[in-house]
Symmetry: C2
Subunit: 308 residues, 2 copies
Amino acid sequence: MVVTDDMQLPQQASPFDLKAYLRERQAQVEAALDRAVPLTYPETLYESMRYSLFAGGKRLRPILCLATCELAGGTIAMAMPTACALEMIHTMSLIHDDLPAMDNDDYRRGKLTNHKVFGEDIAILSGDALLTYAFEHIGLQTRDVPADRVLKVIVRLANAVGAAGLVGGQVVDLESEGKANLSLETLNFIHTHKTGALLEVSVVSGAILAGASEADVQRLSHYAQNIGLAFQIIDDILDITATQEELGKTAGKDLQAQKLTYPSLWGIDESRRQARQLIESAKAELAPFGEQAKPLLAIADFITARSH
Amino acid sequence: MVVTDDMQLPQQASPFDLKAYLRERQAQVEAALDRAVPLTYPETLYESMRYSLFAGGKRLRPILCLATCELAGGTIAMAMPTACALEMIHTMSLIHDDLPAMDNDDYRRGKLTNHKVFGEDIAILSGDALLTYAFEHIGLQTRDVPADRVLKVIVRLANAVGAAGLVGGQVVDLESEGKANLSLETLNFIHTHKTGALLEVSVVSGAILAGASEADVQRLSHYAQNIGLAFQIIDDILDITATQEELGKTAGKDLQAQKLTYPSLWGIDESRRQARQLIESAKAELAPFGEQAKPLLAIADFITARSH
């Protein structure tokens, strides 16, 4: 989609019901995931995959992908296989992250973690299966998109997940534990890779599938980078201020583990200010898209709202 | 490539030096892998990936892929990124397979396993990174092949690795441990998935990249299925007959673990006979390709020769 100045509309032009929007998209994504990963032989494996896939995620990554595809002139249908793949990969990262050899978490979103239910061996393998299936699903199920675009999405996604992205961020995070005097640079590296890269590719892949221009992909990429970092800062704040019940996971874990976090570096007030500023920058990138950007604008605001 | 009857040549037409062929291809694959996975930040992760990638594998899967691509009229260069990806995935499956929660192996090919050197957390993550990078590498580095063929290769590969392939085979294998009275059907399921699927896609992907006809892909797929099963039967035989030094891993492990194997079901002599028969069927599939099939014919023979 080519965006020109005269397409700009004031952001207050009409009310946008984010709650209803998220509810509708969430239901669509869950129905698609349910079809994508049926319960088949060997059942233990698929049960384990489905247990974590349907453990109550907000489906933020798929929804970002669908919203961006629509914003850039594509359809929900074009982006749905990629949207599902993003959730498969996010789920895989949580399953492996929770393992005893990693974060050793017993609970996630208020439910037992995958390895506590299915054992470590199955948890490792169902993570591997979800990761692999993500690429198969995009390649096999994407319709009405030229093959070169689909291939580009697979490359960007794999890059965001592997050693140059999520997994690389995990490794630096593990290596940083218990170390005093970590730099802001290292903290930023961890978060732009561990959580930021997958959020960014969620947005970027939607744009690529729709055939967005390189300039628009860049803008949307910046939007995603900013909300990704804001999201992490707010996560760190919540770890300190929220109760276990609100989080659905062990609260105060970062403090216990003496992890470097944004609030430990900046204090809570300054962290909130930085998060707000990132959200404003994110929203500024959307200005040229006018009315079409409403869902992405509302999602950006929604992320900040979590911190209160 | 269209194969017609008059292209058939007797298999004895000219001598074929398999040893030199394998040595040359192995060197090409290792040089390509070395370029594909450079040592960069975070170094621990890349060191761990490279440790297992360069732990002395025979590069059978990449070589099968390259050989099939050439057989079907393509070039080595067209198939090299996929060949490297196959080795990355094979390596990932070994790293995860050796973990304490899985087979709990301390040695592989005579060297300490990945988690014994780098720790379980890094071993899990470097497996994840290799798996992901395989798909990125194919999508990004494959040249002179139409995007739809590359996409097809990615889909076939992911299918061979995930829940419907290698990982599914692993799960059934884990669930079968210590169970008496396993059926031949279950044993076949385990091996056609755990080891067979990746060997099959090694061959099939080379053919697809070269633009082989569906009929030729089918023939080559049968070739690979047969040598894959023969390979496993011979592995089972070797586990009983070879010494630890020859294997580079703990010998007699299957017996100790009371695993169902082909020799335990058929005895060693009958197992050898079955393996030979599979190799003959595999070679029969190559008849229409004539002279071009020499490397694949020799590789089939090479597999049987391991059992003596």
